[in-house]
């Protein structure tokens, strides 16, 4: 984390991708803080998407990291449950940024808290203009999204203070920096 430019293949989805589609409920017994279970969560990321609409899967045969680094979505990405398994599954699959027209609140908050992903809003609909497999570049400094063979960039909404939380590696790193919790060495 903390790199200014994130590039790679994009995976494109529609509106209302809820947490059951991001990580189906039967995998919630996996505990994200247990290393092997974290990786298994990654292998199931977005496996709840209907196959007819999304024949290309995020993780083919559960292989992680997946070939994609960026998700481009429509409205209300991450709606549904409070499960932190959702941003964690995407992060464990190798996704670094989700760009959406809007995010559900708890999902957005969980991206920051875990430091797994940058959740970036775009003020207009980008998921219609891109296809799964397109190579893109997200510049976190100027907050723009660029297609590999296009010179024009799409401006995204700056994350503001929230970017520092993700860049720091999540809530606890950030809170230590701000003096809200003690350093780990003195913690216990």
């Amino acid at each position: 984390m903390g790199r200014a430019i994130i590039g790679g293949k994009a995976y494109v989805v529609g509106d209302n991708i809820d947490t059951d589609q991001i990580i189906p409920a039967q995998y919630l017994s996996l505990v994200p803080t247990i290393r092997e279970e974290y990786e298994r969560l990654g292998s199931y990321a977005l496996s709840g998407l209907p196959v007819e609409r999304y024949p290309q899967r995020l993780t083919e045969a559960g292989r992680v990291p997946c070939p994609y680094r960026v998700i481009i979505a429509g409205r209300n990405f991450g709606c549904g449950s409070s499960r932190e398994h959702a941003p964690i599954a995407l992060g464990a699959a190798g996704i670094r940024v989700v760009i959406a027209e809007s995010f559900a609140r708890i999902f957005f908050r969980n991206c920051l808290a875990t430091g797994e992903l940058y959740p970036i809003q775009s003020s207009y609909r980008l998921n219609d203009g891109f296809e799964t497999g397109d190579v893109v570049e997200v510049d976190l400094r100027s907050t723009t999204l660029r297609g590999a063979n296009s010179s024009c960039g799409y401006p995204l909404t700056p994350l503001g203070e929230a970017e520092k939380v993700v860049a720091a590696g999540g809530l606890f790193h950030y809170a230590r920096r701000m003096g809200l919790v003690r350093e780990r060495s003195e913690a216990s």
């Binding site: 809820d18 209907p50 932190e84 808290a113 875990t114």
Partner: protein, 457 residues
């Protein structure tokens, strides 16, 4: 200030807060369950150290309820992880599945899914259990690792769902960073007509403002119709605030609220002083929506999201395979009573599953009589498969052996709260959300039905 602003200002130790401001707030209650508890504990130990102590063992409430009556071993193990943490930390409010504090939980499938299989402390679905056990108090800040934590807003609490990492932060510090949300005001006026329930009111509102209409915002309910809504009605409405994206949903407190809360606290030894909050007359709202309760009709949300609103009477050509009554939205005693009043003396036409939210509800359904017969027997004799094992069950699918889970593509009408693809199990299953009245009428008809055609005296 609005109700939410005033409450958060007090919890942050400030005179005033404005929407958009980020404040560090004192938490009164942290709730977690078997799905998110183990991960929360993992983050807590990673960040604060193996020997760290929680900030206040009396303010942590742990309620296993999601994946309980299943042979899935990892799910059983997760309940055991909670038990071990509770023992280590001296946490007082743990509603364990079993009575032995050093035991392990294993579901025994040979006893079948219907007969009770839990100990004396088990409390069932967390949001209903929190209220029953006296953990929801006016004016308090209650956070939980579950999106429907907003249910406690029915009791004038600021209540919201958070993730594991945030919850671990609360466990260690007793505080949480919150952005003060803007408030949308909903004026509920008048009274609901026959055959209409609180579930119809909230489905109506979500249809009105959209599935993300309240994202990042507070929903505040007032108006002259609120006094006519009982505690269960208010819980149903607050519960589904998150289906419109809301951060929290909150009601003003009245005599009904304090009577309910005081009685539950006294019964369960959870008494502590609280102070309700009401909005200022000059509070600034982002928007105000007036809802005439008399005009709300039996309403259904068709798949694939809770905002696809339709009138039940316009959907009678939708044939159904299954009906389900349960969950934190529609598994309360009053929900089963409404269901029973429709199916009484009749037979359901499709597979119908009943999962009460808590053991106390199971007991009350067996005791309370309707025309001389217990509510429980009325449902069972009508052909409903009633389980004595309360919990989340098929509301969110769960492991394959979960009671009522949709394991093949089928159409189900349900008193639950979400109908996204795959919510109740199979990704191609379709879930229609409706009130207990509408689900009961539809179970009798075998297709979506308007309960007003099935009311009996």
């Amino acid at each position: 200030m609005t109700l939410t602003e005033k409450l958060l200002a007090r919890a942050a130790g400030k005179k005033n807060v404005a929407s958009g401001e980020t404040v560090l707030v004192d938490v009164d209650v942290l709730m977690t369950h078997d799905v998110c508890g183990p991960g929360t504990i993992g983050v807590f130990k990673r960040e604060f150290g193996e020997t760290a102590r929680v900030w206040d063992p009396d303010r942590v409430v742990i309620i296993p309820d999601h994946y309980i009556f299943t042979t899935d071993q990892r799910s059983n193990r997760n309940v055991d992880i909670l038990r071990e943490f509770v023992r280590e930390q001296g946490i007082r409010h743990f509603y364990d599945v079993i009575d032995d504090p050093t035991g392990v939980w294993r579901f025994d499938p040979s006893r079948g899914p219907l007969a009770a299989q839990f100990g004396s402390r088990y409390a069932g679905v967390c949001h209903i259990a929190l209220a029953e056990k006296g953990h929801t108090r006016p004016g308090e800040v209650l956070v939980g690792t579950d999106s429907h934590t907003c249910t406690a807003g029915a009791f004038n609490a600021f209540a919201t769902g958070i993730g594991n990492t945030d919850a671990a932060f609360v466990l260690g510090t007793g505080k949480i960073l919150l952005r003060v949300p803007e408030t949308m005001r909903f004026m509920l006026d008048g009274a609901m007509g026959p055959g209409v329930m609180a579930k119809d009111v909230i489905l109506h509102i979500i249809g009105e403002i959209g599935f993300d209409g309240a994202t990042y915002r507070a929903m505040e309910f007032g108006g002259n119709g609120v006094s006519g809504l009982d505690i269960d009605d208010r819980m149903t409405i607050a519960n589904m605030g998150v289906e419109a994206g809301a951060k929290n949903a909150i009601f003003e407190a009245d005599a009904q609220t304090t009577a309910f809360v005081d009685a539950r606290m006294k019964e369960h030894g959870t008494t502590r002083p609280y102070e309700a909050v009401s909005p200022d007359a000059e509070a600034k709202y982002l928007s105000t929506l007036r809802v005439d309760l008399a005009e709300v009709e039996p309403t259904v949300a068709v798949p694939p999201d809770p905002s696809r609103r339709a009138a039940a009477r316009d959907l009678t050509d939708v044939k159904l395979d299954r009906a389900y009554i349960g969950s934190c939205t529609g598994g309360k005693a009053s929900d089963f009573l409404a269901f029973a009043s429709i199916v009484q003396g009749r037979q359901v036409k499709i597979d119908t599953f009943g999962v009460p939210a808590t053991p106390a509800i199971v007991a009350s359904l067996k005791e309370s009589l309707l025309n001389g017969k217990s509510v429980w027997d009325i449902l069972r004799d009508a052909g409903v498969r009633m389980t004595e094992n309360p919990g989340c069950a098929a509301c969110l699918g769960g492991p394959a052996d979960t009671f009522g889970r949709i394991n093949e593509p089928m159409k189900c009408i349900s008193t639950t709260n979400r109908n996204f693809p795959g919510r109740m199990g199979h990704p191609d299953g379709q879930v229609f959300l409706a009130s207990p009245y509408t689900v009961a009428a539809s179970a009798l008809a075998g297709h979506v039905a308007d309960p007003r055609d099935y009311l009996q005296s």
